[in-house]
């Protein structure tokens, strides 16, 4: 403890009276009034009272500030967490979109394939029918020509007709067989 000199004591008391300035802080705790100096004892007690009042006020403000700061930090953490969730949700949405796009592409591809297959099957049927018709006509004409030959009838017209028709039918038949092979090849490849 520091016992103040008379000069210091008087200066401190005067400053307090005239200018309302009081000793404060840790230094106040080590000051000691001279024995029996009631006036200075009262002065030190007043200083302590004022110091405690100021510290209490500051403590309250600091606590409020600390509490607000904690709230802000908590809200910031909450925001960060929400942002993280949002980011994850966005990434998931992006992935879902990509997946959906892939499925759509696959579906379109499947549809195109089915359409192609149907078209090829239709073409194949038409071509087959055409081939049967050609073969049928060929057989019919040949039979008629054969009958004419065996019956001894005039075969000049039917003969030239048969040869012309057979030539045309053969040409068409080859073309049709070619088409069938092409269709088959395309269908198998898909």
């Amino acid at each position: 403890m520091v016992e103040v000199t008379e000069h210091t004591r008087n200066v401190l008391l005067e400053v307090a009276k005239k200018r309302k300035i009081y000793v404060e802080g840790s230094f106040l705790k080590i000051l000691k009034a001279p024995k029996g100096d009631k006036e200075f004892e009262d002065y030190l007690a007043l200083c302590k009272e004022k110091d405690i009042a100021v510290r209490k006020k500051r403590l309250e403000v600091t606590k409020q500030f600390q509490s607000q700061n904690k709230d802000l930090v908590a809200k910031q953490e909450e925001n960060d967490s929400l942002m993280k969730d949002l980011q994850i949700a966005l990434e998931e949405a992006k992935l879902s979109e990509q997946e959906a796009e892939k499925l759509r592409d696959d579906a379109v591809e499947d549809l195109e394939l089915m359409q192609k297959k149907t078209q090829f099957e239709l073409i194949s049927t038409i071509v087959k029918v055409a081939l049967y018709v050609i073969i049928g006509v060929g057989i019919l004409t040949t039979v008629m020509y054969g009958l004419a030959l065996f019956s001894g009838a005039d075969t000049q017209i039917i003969g030239s007709t048969w040869s012309n028709m057979f030539g045309i039918l053969l040409t068409n038949a080859f073309s049709i067989v070619g088409t069938i092979m092409g269709v088959k090849y395309a269908t198998e490849k898909d």
Binding site: S26, I30, R55, L59, T62, Q66
Partner: protein, 140 residues
């Protein structure tokens, strides 16, 4: 001495201690590294250097190389003890409290908005900690 990373708590603690007439002066440090440097400089080169009478260490000191319990352990076992030491934390985790006890902490004060009653209780028990007669205590 107070070792705590939160500056606002330095102010709260200093004012609370001053109002309760617990401290004459308080040295508040932000990291255990700073405290470690100080203790290292006092020990063993200058073991007679005037150390803080009491050290309050936060449990989780963000930005420090080691936590409060490790700091307590260092002061007690590497730097020759010589002061009342304990943890001040908002946590009341039983395992951490046990660890602190093993490290040589003499008390555990739980931080909250209303810390003054706990500090006042601690002040009343203080002499027992100085004499090492008080058992470990949690101030809730």
């Amino acid at each position: 001495m107070l070792i705590d990373d939160e500056d606002l708590f330095h102010l709260v603690f200093e004012d609370a201690c001053s109002i309760l007439d617990i401290t004459l002066s308080l040295e508040a440090l932000n990291s255990s590294d700073e405290a470690d440097k100080l203790f290292k400089s006092w020990f063993p080169d200058d073991p007679n250097h005037e150390r803080p009478e009491c050290v309050f260490v936060d449990l989780n000191i963000i930005g420090s190389s080691f936590n409060g319990i490790e700091m307590v352990d260092k002061i007690n076992h590497e730097y020759g003890n010589g002061c009342v030491i304990g943890i001040i934390s908002s946590s009341d985790d039983h395992q951490e409290i046990e660890k602190a006890k093993k490290a040589g902490a003499q008390f555990w004060i739980i931080k909250s908005d209303d810390i003054e009653p706990r500090l006042e209780e601690f002040k009343n028990d203080y002499d027992g900690y100085v004499n090492k007669t008080n058992p470990f205590k949690i101030y809730k």
